[in-house]
Symmetry: C2
Subunit: 192 residues, 2 copies
DNA sequence: CAGAAAGGCTAGCGATGCTAGAATCACGGT
DNA sequence: ACCGTGATTCTAGCATCGCTAGCCTTTCTG
């Protein structure tokens, strides 16, 4: 038994090694630099080892995305804890969200831009994904009008944040007006 | 002169052929199917011919994106012409925008998702891009409060639409609630 | 009509994701 | 103690990608 469990423990550790190496390489040089060869060299194993852990490169990106969602959820939670009122919570969460996207663009892409076959809007979604959405939900819920579905409102607000972030990062929106656009979005959702 | 102009005319025609072939292939089978070899076969020329017209595959996608913006601008203009009031115009434009994105996902990706080096938010941006944004601006302008910059408000509203579209198409938002989310977005911008 | 020049094609380079099959290692039974 | 067995890892290679160098044919010019 002990020998079996040691094997499994080492295997799990190597899997974590792969995911963190992929994340760090992506954050340092972008996802284009994360080739299977480069990643294999980084973990000091050969390429096929990657495929004994993950179905392919996309699966590795998905694992990175899940880890990223945990990070985001933690940051959002911390921001919400510091904020006082309802509107301040919303603003703090929104600011933290867009800041996260700008500080860690590669991670954000894996989470929300790249096509990846993760169950998202279902109960089977990985816990970190639901937690990150839950943080948004907690901030949006208080500003929902009677009769509004808080979940739907959160999704819509999230879409606003996501749109701002992606359009700005691709150069389609000028970056210098970001704060003002964010204020407009919050203003229109929190009721001026 | 005539022979020179004929040459140039034929060259321009072939360039249009490349762009439309790329667009049709992308819309039919997705951008992954648009390889330089496949595209060359489609236009019945060899690969290097593509590179005598465009710097690379990304430049071809950019040309397709510009063409797509012209299409979108036309659709938005038609929708706005039919609508009566201020709020109806906004709703019609929003509905047309998201419908366009769902009907022609590959085209939409080239325009607004794919990383492409087109000047966007500047006066040097290609005319179709400015026209498409102008259509949005015309619909959003009337609902801007005094003191609000209509351009910034349009950008923010656009971001909301873009976020809804991209998150839904990647499976991160459930598609069946799209209409209700869109109604929420419009409601919060047009003042309940 | 010979030479120059322009344009298109064949062939190939380096790199990608992924995989088959050889080789190596640790383990268990006699 | 030793050898066979099974799992694990690596070497080598496939098909395909975007892109380009260099030949070759065709066309224009003096």
């Amino acid at each position: 038994m002990t020998i079996q469990t040691r094997r499994e423990r080492e295997r799990a550790e190597r899997e974590r090694l792969i995911v963190t190496a992929a994340r760090e390489l992506a954050e340092a040089e972008g996802w284009d630099a994360v080739t299977t060869r480069r990643l294999a060299a980084e973990i000091e194993y050969s390429q096929p080892v990657l495929y004994s852990h993950f179905k392919g490169k996309d699966a590795i990106m998905a694992a990175v995305a899940v880890q990223g969602c945990a990070d985001l959820a933690a940051e959002l939670g911390a921001a919400r804890a510091k904020a006082r009122g309802v509107r301040e919570s919303l603003a703090a969460v929104a600011e933290t969200y867009t800041s996260f996207a700008q500080r860690r663009p590669a991670l954000y892409d894996a989470m929300f831009t790249h096509l990846v076959d993760l169950p998202f809007a279902t109960p089977e979604a990985p816990a970190p994904l639901r937690e990150a959405f839950g943080e948004l939900l907690h901030a949006v819920e208080p500003i929902a009008a009677e009769g509004d579905d808080p979940g739907l409102l959160t999704e819509t607000f999230w879409a606003g944040l996501h749109g701002l972030v992606t359009l700005m990062r691709s150069g389609r929106l000028p970056a210098e007006a970001h704060e003002r656009r964010l204020a407009l979005l919050i203003g229109h959702f929190a009721g001026s």
